[in-house]
């Protein structure tokens, strides 16, 4: 905490003491996030001539989950001739995290569900990180208890009461409970559904998903319309399904395809041994623990603050123009192979020679903007009526998705010390372009007021407890899984890549999920490994 912030916090406390009942002034904080100015300058291409040319066997663009997974897979095979370029100052993409005097905390993705058996690469990664023990191929592998989300996991604030879990189940109108039961039974059927080749229709990674005419039809309407068509009209169920779509896709269920909406409920089959059941892996820094450890292994092969502004394919190699933001100079990379592990929409802007049909396959992708608030609290909020403070705490009918408690996984008896809350707010209530404009033009103070007002519905003491409120903006956080995007021809075109360029990103399967990004990263790495050294000793995808 800087001196100014410290004084401001004390001033706030003193004022609060003088005028009981009056709303204390806004806690201090900062507005951070992707460098939007630079992002927009990239398309302009206004950079000096390169000062240095570097050569590498494989160049990975983007150090999010896809890029880090690709690098991990190369290292696993003993392949060291690669470099990773990351636009931002910190690796991790949507899984980035922060740390303050109280705790580490997520700035984006905050959990990983226990991976499905088909997510073999994720399981191998977790085994490598020491969190999955024993056989990664086991039906229910044993996971390190420290990373399994501790109980109580979730609670929902509705009608003045905190209830356990996120599915509303108290004070429901007649028939809502039965409708919920019918909905979850339907999801259970989808979970088990397979095509005539025996592939699960809603597998994750989605590359393993099978197809039937019925599943293709789900791609033609929105989740909301599907629910209506199926006779689901219970308000609590609609809220919950929309919550799920906003949570996983940053997109309203009136826009998400029914296939993607159902996928949220039907894809997870991962279970853990020793009583872990179906739960999630988490840590104070969310998924930051995974990307931080992967980035740490890269050493000098990872270059952060490196903006790619042009990409050209030559006869024997690829030439990449880079602006090094730290040293403020231009670089050129010449690579034998390239893994594009950054959001796909950037590629056509930088690669002017990109084939038109590949650009056309990328063009329909849209991205949901997100805002993540980090609230530093002197103590957890008063528990309120009902279920005590959980890891994930959600408010019914809120524009936000609630908050997770960074100190939840701590093994401490005294749970009343300072803590950090990460509050999530997808800007799913407007067209993404307009929402992004709002995200960028709205001041920290305005957002902070809105967030504190939302939270104070359940926590009257939130303003008094909050000593800092920092905001992190994700302009293009998640690809939006709208109807019609999962056409096979389109997906196959993306998967085919472009000469020496392999595409690897969650955007490929049109789902911004860890397993999906990891799959495409590992797949690109294995493609290159197979090409370089002939037969691969192991195939993870």
């Amino acid at each position: 905490m800087r001196r100014r912030d410290f004084l401001a916090a004390w001033g706030a406390a003193a004022l609060a003491g003088c005028a009981p009942g009056a709303a204390p002034p806004l806690p201090p904080g900062e507005l951070a996030g992707g460098d939007f100015e630079l992002g927009h300058r990239l398309a302009g291409g206004d950079f000096p001539a390169p000062a240095e040319t570097r050569r590498t066997g494989v160049l990975i663009i983007g150090a999010g989950v896809a890029g880090l997974s690709a690098a991990w897979r190369l290292q696993r095979a003993g392949f060291q001739d690669f470099a990773v370029l990351e636009l931002e100052a910190q690796a991790g993409g949507n899984s980035r995290s922060g740390r303050n005097g109280i705790s580490a905390y997520p700035l984006g993705a905050h959990y990983l569900p226990l991976p499905n058996p088909e997510a073999r690469a994720v399981r191998a990664l977790l085994a490598d990180l020491g969190v999955l023990r024993g056989d990664p191929a086991a039906e229910a592998p044993v996971y390190d208890e420290a990373y399994l989300c501790h109980a109580p996991q979730e609670r929902l604030y509705r009608q003045g009461l905190w209830q356990e879990g996120l599915v509303p189940h108290l004070h429901l109108a007649a028939g809502e409970q039965a409708q919920q039961a019918r909905f979850f039974a339907r999801m259970g059927e989808f979970k088990a559904a397979r095509d005539d080749r025996g592939r699960r229709l809603f597998a994750l990674p989605t590359a393993y998903a099978g197809e039937t005419p019925a599943s293709r039809a789900l791609e033609q309407l929105t989740m909301h319309d599907w629910m209506r068509a199926e006779g689901f009209d219970a308000p609590s169920l609609h809220w919950y399904v929309n919550y799920a779509c906003r949570d996983d896709y940053g997109t309203d269920y009136r826009q998400v395809s029914a296939w993607a909406g159902i996928h949220y409920f039907a894809c997870r089959t991962g279970r853990g041994g020793e009583g872990a059941g179906e739960t999630v892996l988490t840590a104070p820094e969310g998924n930051g623990w995974i990307v931080n450890r992967l980035a740490g292994r890269l050493g000098p092969a990872l270059h952060t603050g490196c903006a790619v502004h042009a990409l050209r394919q030559g006869p024997t190699e690829i030439s990449v123009q880079v602006w090094d933001r730290k040293q403020e100079r231009s670089l050129e990379y010449q690579a034998g192979q390239l893994i594009w592990a950054a959001p796909l929409y950037l590629l056509p802007r930088l690669a002017r020679e990109l084939p038109a049909e590949l650009a056309a396959a990328i063009a329909p992708l849209g991205y949901a903007p997100w805002l993540v608030a980090t609230l530093s609290l002197t103590a957890p909020p008063e528990p309120g009526a009902g279920m005590p403070l959980a890891w994930d705490n959600v408010l019914y009918d809120s524009p936000g998705l609630g908050y997770v408690v960074a100190t939840h996984q701590q093994l401490r008896r005294d749970s009343r010390g300072p803590t950090v809350l990460s509050y999530y707010r997808p800007l799913s209530d407007a067209d993404p372009r307009a929402a992004r404009a709002r995200l960028l033009s709205t001041s920290r103070e305005t957002w902070a007021e809105e967030i504190l007002a939302d939270l104070s519905r359940a926590h009257r003491d939130i303003r008094r407890l909050t000593t800092r409120l920092d905001l992190f903006r994700h302009g293009h956080a998640m690809v939006r899984p709208l109807p019609g995007l999962r056409r096979r021809a389109r997906l196959e075109r993306l998967a085919a890549g472009w000469g020496r360029v392999q595409l690897a990103h969650g955007d490929m399967g049109c789902l911004s999920l860890f397993e999906e990004a990891n799959y495409w990263g590992v797949r690109a790495a294995e493609h290159i490994l197979a090409g370089a050294g002939g037969r691969l000793r192991e195939r993870l995808v």
Partner: protein, 511 residues
Amino acid sequence: MPAAEGVRPPARLQHALLASVFVIASCGLAYELVAAALASYLLGDSITQFSTIIGAYLFAMGLGSWLSRYVGGNLVRRFIQIELAVGVLGGFAAVGLFLAFAAQTGPFRVLLYLAVLAVGTLVGLEIPLVMRILKREVAFKELVSRVLAVDYLGALAVSLLFPLILAPYLGLMRTGLLFGLLNVGVAVWALLLFRDQLPRSGGLRLAAGASVLLLLGGLGVAGKVSDMAESWLYTDEVIHMESSPYQRIVVTRWRDDIRLFLNQNLQFSSRDEYRYHEALVHPGLGALPGARRILVLGGGDGFAVREILRYPQIQSVTLVDLDPAMTRLFSTAPLLTQLNGNALKDPRVSVINADAAIWLEENGEVFDFVVVDFPDPSNFALGKLYSTGFYRLLERHLAPGGRVVIQSTSPYYARRSFWTIVATLEAAGFQTAPYHALVPSFGEWGYVLAGREPPGLPSAYPEGLRFLTVAGTGDLFHFPADMACLPMAPNRLNEQSLVRLFEQEWHGAAR
């Protein structure tokens, strides 16, 4: 209005007024005793509380007497108004103070003394007014002797009734409300007696009626309020009370029985704590003649340490307790250090105030014997300290051949909880030996001895034990049918099944 001074009560009313003096005096003393007793119960240190409350009350009465010179107008009307005010204010003082204390809102002592001063001032007004009303009828000498005699008689009556009947059977809140009703009763009586001297008394009647209803209503819900606040009340004399950031610490004494309550839960009674602590320490430590380094987690009262120090070979005892207030109290208060044999001041003992799990995570020391004496797993934060994750952490601090013992709630009242703790230790890789002992204050109590190898039993105990014998120890490890082993799932951090079980079982136990 000088004419009003001259209102002369008929002779037959004299006795009525004197009778009301008796009631008024009783009420006056009752409010004083209720306030002083309340302060002693809630704040502890009864000598100070009685002394300062009675002093403040007498001072306020003096103030009231002096202020009575400014009271003019229709004296009977004033008298009735004052009676109503005393009745309502004095009657509800105890309820209000209890609630204020229970809700922990505002500065309780300020509220307490404000209430005492307000009631005392009003009570101080009563007798001078009565004397002024009576003075036209009765000679001054006669008046003073009669009124004051009745006044002191009333005081005597209540001073006897209060400790013998009122406080024990009615409780402080009902006693206060009852005397409030008596005060209002005097007002109603006066309203009836003086009805021809009270023109336009509609307002007074209304106020009197409202006061009666209010106080009756108070008596009606006093049961509920007292249920709520009664948990704050201890049957014995409170000799120490403090609120640390972690818990509310209360020490009570009744004759030679000293009891510790943390957040209203009994932690020990000095009459039988030796059973609990001998059973906690010796079956494990007695079988480890080579044990040198001991760790105690929780147990800030120093009793477990006292038992550990019976072994001459012990070189170091590390006590990790969350609350500095606890360890300070049990290292300094003479009455309590007498009980724990000044164990926390022993040169071999180091006291660390830290969160046990965090301390274990941050330290690499290993120990030959670890005593885990945490509060029962009544919430999710405490439940983490009974989890496979915590026991695995603990295992890393165990020297080769070392043992741990875990206080494990009651296998009788919370049978499934007890066997869940056993299953949890086993899932974390320990070999266990569960046992139990009868501690009259708690009932049947459970412990689990655990180690990497199956724990053996002691062949000798140190001198001076009052409960355990070598011959009888085997019996502790035998569980009768109503406490026998149940197959339970371990308490894992991601489920915390123990917290839910514990809540169900203790909720169901008749206590």
